[in-house]
Amino acid sequence: MSGYLLSRSLQTLLTLLVMSVLVFVGLYLVGNPVDVLLNANATPAERLEVIRSFGLDRPVWEQYWRFLTRALSGDLGNSFVFNQPALRLILNRMPATLELAFVALVIALLIGIPLGIYAGLKPRSALSRSIMTFSILGFSLPTFWIGLVMILVFSVTLGWLPASGRGQTVSVLGIPLSFLTLDGLSHLILPALNLALFKISLVIRLTRAGVIETMELDFVRFARAKGLPERRIVRVHVLKNTLIPLITVIGLELGSLIAFAVVTETIFSWPGMGKLIIDAIAVLDRPVILAYLMLTVVMFSVINLVVDILYSLVDPRVRLDGSS
């Protein structure tokens, strides 16, 4: 097991390295961050001064080397815009995004899995057909547009829920969480629902497909021939086989939710990482872009690792080293 963890960590580091090189070089080739750092009235002398102090006149490989060595000690540079450590900027805003993504995932699973199971068990019923048609709607609706409509309906017209911002937070283990307060919840519902909508459809379809496929397998027929009641067959035999492949998908989708939160955060002015990165891209705030990317790589690798371990624990046919 420890050997496996080691090899996975090494793979992550390799990916980090490759990614950072690619993006660093790419960003280097584009644009001139100096324009961000100075105002328009700066003299040429001041320009040169800034260039030299930020080391922007050095060749690219030297700049990268400086970046790398600093990164090993945890310093990913200061944001060109805010002049604060980029890493700290992002970490400050990460809990908000993670909270949004997690709540969206939970909503998607709580709604999607039961609906998918029902649609799979009774595929021809009217309710199932409408669920499926509805799910096409779900992944055809652009997240940002449905967010607008939500604001229009629930905030502007009905006035039930706030249109922007994050609510009151409570600190748990040093991390501010907002879903524990009523005010926080009221601010959380619309964005989380908005983010979850796409995923609900996905979860419904996957679960339904899994249930239908499993119900046709031989061992389900044998379980019936054993005289087991249908409820037990579904609960014990079908469910486990259906939910196991779902674990991998859930892991992937969590990552996707974290990334897609960018959109929801923009619409609902949610103070997460997403807004930060969008603004950073618009002005080419290199340190922030790089820091965000590296953090994301690490996050996704950890998610993938947890998913793989979970999978191997649950499915006896899969062993971590690849044998089965």
Binding site: D218, F219, A225, K226, G227, P229, E230, K240, R317
Partner: protein
């Protein structure tokens, strides 16, 4: 005779297909008496499996309609509300299915899958159920039963899984066991073990068995009475000896005469065709005598020496070799023009890989292969193309051997055009001629593969193989997937073609009875090696090697009068997977007769 425990009257089952109801089982009636084994035998499409599923009411309530009367223990099963069936299933009637590899839930432990039945029907506590489960596993002869309760199905072989399935079905002492083709997917020796197990358990429990099968040999071996089904109808019912000795219905007569009986070729030198039966009158036309096609004086058509094929098994990110499959080890054989040499053996013996290695579909590691004098292993691209014209292959699954998107005529013409034997126009004529040769009509060239039945598709494959006018045809389990009567027709076709064109066949098969019918010479393989090789008569009438004898003893004979007392062991079929450091031992052979060699040790 005592009151029947199961009495079926006028059973009718229909399926809804594309909105219309199709009658799959028509007016079927038969009884099963206490302690009796009744076999329901038929080919694909006969409705035998559907009959079994109808008894247990396991068919979809919306897609299937079942009418009639099924009396069991004083109740009409079809009249019961569906909610009461689970109390009968697994409890009063047990059922086992064909595929042992998929009958068990792969993510649940074996013990749990047995325990849930005991808890459900016999209301045992978990602890009681657990020790009972261990006892059940011991009864089906699974060693170290108690410790194996916590293992998953993937740790069990096919034969062992089938035993577990039987244990589950018998857990509550049912009065009737319905077995739907339980041994069809198993190797011959394993099949013999399972059949014997079922027979023993039946005697011990005093229960009845309803055995669904397509294998007449199995019917003859184990059943007291038989029901013959054809296209949904029960065409003949009666005591098994009578069905075999004097079948009355034309279909039964066709079926019985299409089944090769092991040992029926004793005393005959040459292969023998199957008799043709008129399906209307039931008249049996004896097979014409077979000409002697073997050219003894000519140079060997196929000469194989010391053939070795191994597959490395690689694991992990660095692709290290953790083991090797010794598929073919030091195989040598010869085939003369016009001769049929059969390779027989069970799963993993290497017979298919040998056939593939000979024409380099799989690359062998070492050894020499000569086809018509040309060295196959050293041939370049052009040379290989030329050699592949001389030797063609027909595969097992007629459904898979043809590209579903290409019309049949184009598929047959493809090799002709690719080797530039003639232009496109002449090729079309040739295709028509080839189709006629295999008993189909030229107009069928325009059809797609899915429009043909299994037997017809195999004929198309034969036509395609003949397109390049080869002298050697390698038939890799080419008739194994076909129904009994279709098998007979295709074999007759192959013998006709051999007589007309002097073809040599390398016939790869696990079906000993068919092999006995068609071969001039036979080689028996086990774990990648030839353990015995010789003329067909020598191998079948005078087998010398232990494994050959075990194989012969396991084959069910389609003649109830020749039922043998069974004494089968518990051996699993070994796997040819070895550690990377394994060095295969040197083998020597001793001569038991003219052209008859047996492996020592």
């Amino acid at each position: 005779m005592a009151e029947p425990i199961l009495s079926i009257s006028d059973l009718n089952t229909s399926f809804r297909v594309h909105g219309k109801w199709q009658n799959v089982v028509r007016n079927v009636s038969f009884d099963v008496h206490p302690k009796e084994t009744v076999a329901v035998v038929g080919e694909s499409g006969s409705g035998k499996s559907v009959t079994a599923l109808s008894i247990m009411r396991l068919l979809s309530p919306t897609g299937a309609r079942v009418t009639g009367r099924i009396e069991f223990e004083g109740r009409d099963l079809l009249g019961l509300p569906i909610e009461e069936m689970p109390s009968i299933r697994g409890n009063r009637i047990g059922m086992i299915f064909q595929e042992p590899m998929t009958s068990l839930n792969p993510v649940l432990r074996i013990g749990d899958q047995i325990i849930e039945v005991l808890v459900q029907h016999r209301h045992l506590t978990h602890a009681q159920a657990r020790s009972e489960a261990a006892r059940l596993l011991e009864r089906v002869r699974i060693p170290s039963a108690r410790s194996r309760l916590d293992e998953y199905p993937l740790n069990f072989s096919g034969g062992m899984r089938q035993r577990v399935v039987i244990a589950i079905a018998l857990a509550c002492d049912p009065r009737l066991l319905i077995a739907d083709e339980p041994t069809t997917a198993l190797d011959v020796t394993i099949q013999a073990q399972i059949l014997e197990l079922i027979k023993t358990l039946q005697e011990e429990e005093g229960m009845s068995v309803l055995f669904i099968t397509h294998d007449m040999g199995v019917v003859a071996e184990i059943s007291d009475r038989a029901v013959v089904m054809h296209r949904g109808e029960a065409v003949e019912t009666g005591p098994t000896p009578q069905i075999f000795a004097s079948p009355s219905h034309p279909y039964t007569r066709a079926l019985v005469s299409a089944v090769p009986q092991l040992g029926s070729m004793n005393g005959l030198d040459r292969p023998l065709r199957f008799p043709r039966v008129d399906l209307v009158t039931g008249e049996i036309e004896p097979p014409p005598p077979t000409a002697d096609t073997v050219r003894r004086d000519a140079a060997p058509l196929l000469k194989v020496e010391g053939l070795v094929t191994r597959f490395d098994v690689r694991k992990g990110f660095l692709r290290r070799t953790i083991g090797r499959i010794h598929a073919v080890e030091d195989v040598s054989l010869e085939l003369r023009p016009g001769e049929t040499l059969s390779l027989v053996g069970e799963s993993g013996c290497g017979k298919s890989t040998t056939g593939r290695s000979i024409i380099r579909l799989t690359e062998p590691r070492s050894g020499t292969v000569q086809i018509d004098g040309c060295d196959v292993r050293t041939a370049g691209k052009a040379g290989l193309a030329k050699i592949r014209r001389q030797a063609q292959m027909i595969f097992q699954d007629p459904f898979e051997s043809l590209n579903p998107r290409i019309r049949v005529g184009d598929a047959i013409a493809e090799p002709i055009v690719a080797h530039r034997l003639c232009d496109a126009h002449a090729a079309r004529d040739k295709v028509g001629d080839l189709l006629r040769r295999v008993g189909l009509s030229a107009s069928m060239a325009e059809r797609f593969p899915h429009e043909f039945s299994g037997g017809q598709r195999q004929r198309v494959c034969i036509a395609r193989a003949l397109a390049l006018e080869p002298r050697l045809i390698i038939a890799d389990e080419s008739v194994s997937a076909l129904d009994v009567s279709v098998k007979a027709q295709v074999i007759n076709l192959m013998l006709d073609l051999q007589e007309r064109y002097g073809l040599g066949y390398l016939f790869i098969s696990h079906d000993m009875a068919v092999v006995e019918r068609i071969s001039h010479r036979v080689a028996v393989m086990y774990l990648g090696e030839i353990v015995e090789i010789g003329p067909r008569r020598a191998i079948f009438e005078n087998p010398q090697h232990d494994y050959t004898r075990r194989l012969m003893a396991a084959v069910p004979i389609a003649d109830p009068t020749r039922r043998r007392p069974r004494r089968v062991g518990n051996e699993e079929i070994e796997s040819p997977f070895r550690a990377p450091t394994y060095v295969p031992p040197n083998r020597t052979y001793w001569q038991a007769g003219e052209g008859h060699f047996v492996q020592l040790g």
